[in-house]
């Protein structure tokens, strides 16, 4: 990092050395012990720390001092406000990177963090090392925001770095690098006139705060334009807000879409529809398709559906142009239906978010299931894609579909122009993880077949969630499935073909599930574990003996359908299963376990560690379990707390 402008409060030549010192961190946690520890740790990292134990206080602080913080760290479980809600608020209003934190490491919750746009997720107990590096999120975000603009401009990024233009933002930014990024950004904005920018931002670009009113204008503009036409430029024109730049709108639009996706994903879960999505694709299509015609009207009638949304939906259903706009529809409809801006009373009125979501998920299912019809207009559904391993046929039409993904993708989605053919996957529906690992596979030219297959292994190597990646590829919008639903899907390192089909079928994941169950090759152990997990979970739930279940891995019980099991997690899983297996009282469990074991073999996977662990611990009855719990010192392995089974792995 080069030294930034010297007009900041620090001596110019040591500015870069000092970064990330002075990073302004806001920590929110209702647990006083943790708060204190975090404060000390952060201070030791030479960050500037502000603590609060209530989310509302934190929000007030942030609103009051809009540029006063660089990053927010928040606990997930707080009494006054859900940490994820806070996350959304901050993301939408202040556009700051937010790190979520919890003792809860269950995949569902972590996934929630991802979908809500957290740039990282820390598992408690938080270690110094984890906190030391949080500055990367600040830099990354700035870089991202900056790149957004660069795509618009023809200028180069490097130009900015040579500027010594001072700015008040530099002083606000506690980091030299942050400052130099910012100054570069600002300089670009200031120089825009010479670059003949298309938008109206001739002003400096301070961080725009999306107030409720502004946001409402934004939503109104988007609604009027229709999501397929809602390009930042037009939105900007419609909003007609002086001083607002196209970039502001663009980045806000990304977040908005993300938010919608998230909402619909959550509401989909709440309504339980994700279960229905797990059925066969054809059946789902039929059932969902029937919903489309009927439900629109009934929903409208019931007042759940705002008229304009209905109109848009109908437009979507009935008058689809055969191009990208058709594909964009689902997004826009979710957009219209499910978005409830945190602060503003949306154009849609005060609709119960939950109800809305329920209806929306129905609609989404219906809408997205419309795609096949529309696909027919396009270059046909690539049925062969499903079930394909590694064969990647990318048609031009795929790129159209990929656009859906793009629309959900925050990081990559810059141009809302319908002719943008950049099939960036990074987004929806379980592809996220893959896309994290296959960022360059999807080039604007379409999928490169050679790289595609090459990347399959890359995907396979990815274990669990790469939370850090989420900031780069945050387009983890899951329109239809719940967290748990998503996680099952996302745990798969898919082959390229599957990836294509997933993108195409962003509406639901039937094909994916089917694939998952049918495929045995090319699967990492994780997939199999997830299958086992499901059955094993049943096993545990079938256990009549309370004490046995007492010691089942926490994550197993709390994540009923989560798909991805990490290694140690799984070991613990199996070990307890093994323990139960030995117990005579676990009658009902045994068959399931046996079934699981068979499944292991049938899937041609060896999970040697797991299997051996299965029988390494024999908890023959309650007392042994209790005593073994107490005698943990023997069993306690240096805690891999990430997996939530301290002492059980």
């Amino acid at each position: 990092m080069k030294s930034g402008p010297s007009s900041s409060s620090r001596p110019g030549d040591v500015v870069s050395d000092q970064f990330p010192a002075g990073l302004r961190v806001l920590v929110v946690d209702d647990d006083p012990t943790c708060l204190r520890i975090l404060e000390k740790m952060l201070k030791n990292c030479l960050y500037q720390v502000t603590t609060c134990n209530r989310a509302e206080v934190a929000l007030a602080l942030l609103r009051e001092n809009k540029n006063g913080y660089d990053i927010v760290i928040s606990d997930v479980h707080m009494p006054d406000m859900d940490g994820f809600k806070l996350l959304e608020h901050v993301g939408l209003e202040m556009d700051l990177p937010v790190i979520m934190m919890s003792a809860d490491d269950s995949k569902n919750v972590v996934m929630k963090g991802v979908t809500h746009g957290a740039c990282d997720y820390l598992i408690k107990p938080v270690r110094m090392e984890a906190l030391k590096n949080i500055w990367q999120h600040v830099v990354r975000k700035k870089k991202h925001d900056w790149k957004d603009k660069d795509v618009e401009q023809s200028g180069s990024v490097e130009d900015g770095e040579h500027q010594q233009k001072p700015s008040e933002d530099i002083e606000n930014s506690s980091s030299a690098n942050g400052g130099s990024w910012r100054s570069s950004k600002k300089r670009r904005d200031d120089d825009e006139e010479s670059e003949d920018r298309e938008d109206t931002s001739t002003l400096k670009k301070p961080r725009v705060v999306w107030s409720a009113e502004l946001h409402q204008q934004f939503v109104a503009a988007v609604n009027e334009l229709g999501i397929d036409k809602a390009v930042p430029k037009k939105i900007l024109e419609m909003m007609n807000v002086p001083g607002l730049t196209r970039e502001n709108v663009a980045s806000h639009l990304q977040k908005y879409r993300l938010y919608l996706r998230r909402l619909s994903g959550v509401s989909g879960h709440q309504s339980g529809l994700n279960n229905s999505f797990m059925t066969s694709p054809e059946a789902a299509f039929r059932s969902m398709s029937s919903l489309s015609g009927l439900d629109l009207h009934s929903l409208a009638a019931s007042g759940q559906l705002p008229p304009q949304s209905l109109a848009t939906l109908q437009a979507a259903v009935f008058s689809r142009p055969a191009t990208t706009s058709a594909i964009s529809m689902p997004v826009s409809d979710q957009h219209l239906l499910s978005f409830e801006p945190p602060k503003s009373r949306s154009v849609n009125g005060q609709q119960e978010a939950c109800n809305n979501g329920k209806q929306i998920s129905l609609l989404q299912g219906s809408l997205t299931n419309m795609e096949p019809k529309q696909l027919a207009n396009m270059h046909s559904v690539q049925q062969p894609f499903w079930g394909m391993n590694g064969s990647s046929q990318v048609n031009p039409s795929n790129s159209q579909f990929m656009q859906i993904s793009q629309l959900h993708s925050r990081g990559q989605l810059l141009n809302q122009t319908s002719d943008s053919q950049v099939p960036r996957i990074q987004s929806t529906n379980g592809q996220t993880l893959l896309s994290n690992n296959i960022p360059r596979v999807w080039t604007p030219k379409g999928v490169d077949r050679s790289t595609a297959s090459g990347h399959v292994s890359q995907g396979s190597s990815m274990v669990g969630f790469s939370m850090k990646q989420s900031s780069e590829f945050p387009g983890t919008s899951f329109p239809l499935l719940s967290d748990s639903g998503m996680s099952t899907l996302s745990s798969k390192p898919l082959s390229q073909g599957e990836l294509n089909s997933e993108i195409k079928d962003s509406r639901n994941f039937h094909p994916v599930n089917e694939l998952r169950l049918n495929q045995t090759s090319g699967w990492s152990p994780h997939n199999i574990r997830s299958t086992f997990h499901g059955s094993q979970h049943l096993a545990f739930q079938g256990a009549k003996d309370a004490s046995h279940s007492v010691f089942s891995p926490q994550d197993i019980s709390s994540t009923p359908s989560s798909g991805l099991l990490n290694g140690p997690l799984n070991k613990g899983f199996f070990s307890l299963g093994g323990g139960q297996n030995n117990s005579s009282s676990m009658g009902p469990v045994n068959p399931l376990l046996a079934d699981t074991s068979r499944r292991v073999k049938s899937e041609s996977l060896t999970i040697p560690g797991c299997q051996s662990n299965m029988f390494s611990k024999s908890f023959s009855h309650d007392d042994d379990l209790m005593s073994s719990l107490l005698e943990q010192q023997d069993d306690v392995i240096p805690v891999d707390t990430e997996f939530g089974i301290d002492g059980y792995s």
Binding site: D31, T33, C34, I37, H77, P125, M128, Q554, S557, S558
Partner: protein, 151 residues
């Protein structure tokens, strides 16, 4: 000399606490955070932990005493306890929280009560140990010595 002896006792005692699983690496992190600018850091944090936990345990007892137990609430408390105990490295307390959360999820009142019992046990154990440790520290300081770093 007395200081040396005290220091040795301190080190031995601390090691034993780690070995017996009362404390884990997180506690070491806390110790490392302590410095001249904040010489009482560990004690402060641990005191906070004690206060917080005792409050939580009371809340838990009350919640489980209801005729209609709100398991979600119980679970929330346990979750908090898990978080704070793991943050200071009270490993055995954390470990009991895990099955405790399971019993909450299963809405198993007997299981919960059993776990609550265990948690209380572990908590008071670790509390005693830590208090003994602090006393040793104070003795060292009173005798003019410095508290040695463990490991």
């Amino acid at each position: 000399m007395e200081v040396v002896q005290l220091q040795r006792s301190f080190l031995e005692y601390t090691s034993s606490l780690f070995q017996e699983g009362f404390l884990d690496a997180q506690f070491s992190q806390l110790q490392q955070l302590q410095d001249e600018s904040n010489p009482q850091f560990v004690m402060e944090v641990v005191t906070l932990f004690f206060e917080d936990t005792e409050r939580l345990l009371n809340d838990l007892t009350t919640a489980l005493d209801q005729s209609n137990v709100d398991f979600k609430k119980v679970d929330a408390h346990v979750h908090q306890l898990k978080g704070s105990s793991s943050s200071i490295g009270a490993q055995r307390v954390t470990n009991v929280c895990i099955p405790f959360r399971n019993t909450c999820e299963e809405q198993n009142i007997q299981g919960c009560l059993r776990c609550l019992q265990l948690v209380k046990q572990e908590y008071f154990l670790v509390k005693n140990k830590l208090e003994a440790l602090f006393r040793l520290e104070q003795q060292i300081v009173a005798a003019g010595g410095v508290i040695p770093m463990v490991e």
